[in-house]
Amino acid sequence: MIELSTKSLFFVLLLLLAPFVLRYRWKGRKTVFLILNIAVISLAAGSLMQLAITAVWILIPFLFVRFVKKQQKLQPVLIIWLIASFVYLAGYGFLFSVLHLDLILPFKILGLSYFLFREIDYVLQMPYLKEQGYACDLTDYLNYVLSFYTLLAGPILRYKAFADDFHKDEDQKGYIPIAKQELFTLINRVVNGYFKVYVISAILDHYARYWFDGLKSHSSMLHAIVAFCIFAFFNCWFIYFNFSGYCDIVIGAAGLAGLEIHENFNRPYLSCNVIEFWNRHHITLSEWIRDYIFMPSYKLLLSGPLAKAAVAAQAIALFFTFFVAGIWHGTTIDYVMYGFFQGLGIVVSLLYREKRKKLLGKQKNKAYENNRAVIWITRIMTWSYISLTFSFTGYPVMPLFLR
């Protein structure tokens, strides 16, 4: 998530200095935040062309909400266009190769995947929020989409939460005070985040790479399986420490600036099944896909072919949701497998839980779930499954298998 470069040193400086500007309440505060956000995206962009495409892609949803009258009818068209253009801009190589197209852009737009989530949320929620009295000018919109705190890798903000948080205490003037204990806690969290990213995850990444490289020269199948499991062990912990470390940095730094960003992790590797895991890992992503992919597809299935089979509808909708979410994570065929295995894990967890409830009854099932041995066995099983399936993220595992 974070690589060492002059850009990341600039990011550290920004996190240190931004609280002095953002804790100060005056009418120009949101303009100052916008200038900071535009400075970050301009520095991050590799070229003017990249910046121009990003600007157009970001502005279209705002212009749609602002000027289009029959929004309800045209919303699906805009969402489909946003997804299609995202697929193109992100450069989904395996899709292009299936379609025999050679259209991949020579650059990647930073934060594109997260822009997509925010743009869809904005387009779908703004009509309702307007009715509740929420206003949104261009500055507010750009601050929401481009916020440097959540630009790189989330957590995924919703416009309502952003607007409520950014505009709180606006009737006050001058600096919003911070208690000593809170100051220590937030600084400690930022330092812990950097420690997780640059020390712990860097060590884990080194060993994950070491064991992955060793896979290419395995002498026997058994050796390859053992090496793959060791690689998966280091890789899954690398993902946790790197991503949760990044979240600690931005949540802590935003807290210092008086902004609140939702928590994204809650000890995910202590989950007892894959459903629970996704409620504790990358929480803001899980909530977003629940609201915008799972719920519409579940309702669609319930209102149509699976009207009397709620569990089957739930299973299909969950599989579809996590399959799509998996593909969203990356542009190679490995992420298709990643999405498939996450969907499969979720469906198996759901069906097993439903079957168990029927077999044991409510009380016995509760006793079973609270049994200490069961808790630890299911935790180990879930963690093993997750660590193996997480191997498809960041490493070209599929070409290795196909070889």
């Binding site: 911070i178 208690a179 000593k180 220590f184 330092v191 420690f195 640059y198 860097a202 060590i203």
Partner: protein
Amino acid sequence: MNERFEAKDILKILWIGLKTAIVIYAVFQVSNLTILYQGF
């Protein structure tokens, strides 16, 4: 922030400072050697 600093706050600052120093050391190692674990 008008609260007074106490003795235990010094310990907290030292603890945060120690972790910061390790991070800076690790970053320095990464930037020069690219193999982080060599320092540990």
